[in-house]
Symmetry: C3
Subunit: 137 residues, 3 copies
């Protein structure tokens, strides 16, 4: 079994944003030399997540508006008693989940025809990391 | 380390449906010859997901009605400007998550006593795939 | 490839509770002798989940109140026709997801600076299990 680990640094211009990272993951896979196994993509900060869905800008707006309805910004979160103002971002991370495991087959990410991987930032405008670890043969 | 990959083809009679796939996964595990490791089960289309929960028909109705409340069908999704009508299905996939990793121990899926695996279709009535990859020893 | 499996027994005093389990996972990793790979942490009962987020008590209250809004206790769930009263707990498990995969690097859980792992109990006060499986080298 081989293992290969890299970290992506994200720093989004906007506070909330979806960033398409599939091309970066393709490059990491190539550097890993692994042709069959699993790639774990996991947001290391607790106010961001990973989404595997369609690369369509209208849908991306729908996703962000939907998350705002289900986990809205709200000054009354108890987390804000610590001085933070990002309670909603913690909840949004839980809802979309913070990670995905991508199968690797024949040296490629084994995604469906429309599956693309997105970093979902809910409290950005600063440097944050995503761990990408590939294990396999 | 060994690896074994298969694809399930799904084609549900109804647009929205939960399909119990644990028996199919048991068969794949047996064909893999792997006795200890991880099985990844991941819906490759962006309008379906994977749920690990109880095989109880009343609960399944509760799940589908609950998803309809949290991510309702709605003609006003911006994704529909592309000609699609399945914006809700993309959001439901995000909410339930599109995949699960099942531990494999002593040649069996290491599930809890009531855990069963379901393919969650939110835009069916056509052929769609699920990737199942087992890695281990 | 090596593999190591343990089961945590949980029995929370309250029906709903978040339990910090990172220290237990650190101990399991040390016993595994694995320095690079993946640790799967998966709640085996269908009314509990796993959350990776901040260890901050105000946020924990926010999470539990938010889940109560999105997946409330309600006597009218069809699942309750079986005699159960925990329909909401099944839905909460789906929303937070029932598992997480933690990367293992240089003999440590490769978590972000504030990432901590929590067992999320939604129908407790009885013995329930969590499977922890580490695979790697």
């Amino acid at each position: 079994m081989k293992s290969h680990t890299e970290y992506l640094w994200m720093n989004t211009p906007r506070r909330k944003e979806l960033v398409h990272i599939t091309p970066l993951l393709d490059e990491i896979l190539e550097r890993s030399g692994i042709s069959d196994g699993f790639m774990l993509v996991s947001a290391m900060h607790i106010t961001s997540g990973i989404i595997v869905n369609d690369n369509e800008s209208g849908l991306h707006k729908d996703i962000m508006e939907w998350l705002e309805r289900l986990a809205p910004e709200d000054p009354s979160y108890q987390h804000h008693l610590t001085g933070e103002d990002n309670g909603d971002a913690h909840l949004k991370r839980i809802l979309v989940h913070h990670q995905a495991v991508i199968p690797v087959t024949d040296g490629k990410l084994d995604l469906g025809p429309w599956e693309r991987v997105f970093y979902a930032e809910f409290d950005g405008q600063r440097r944050k990391r995503v761990v990408v670890k590939v294990i396999g043969i």
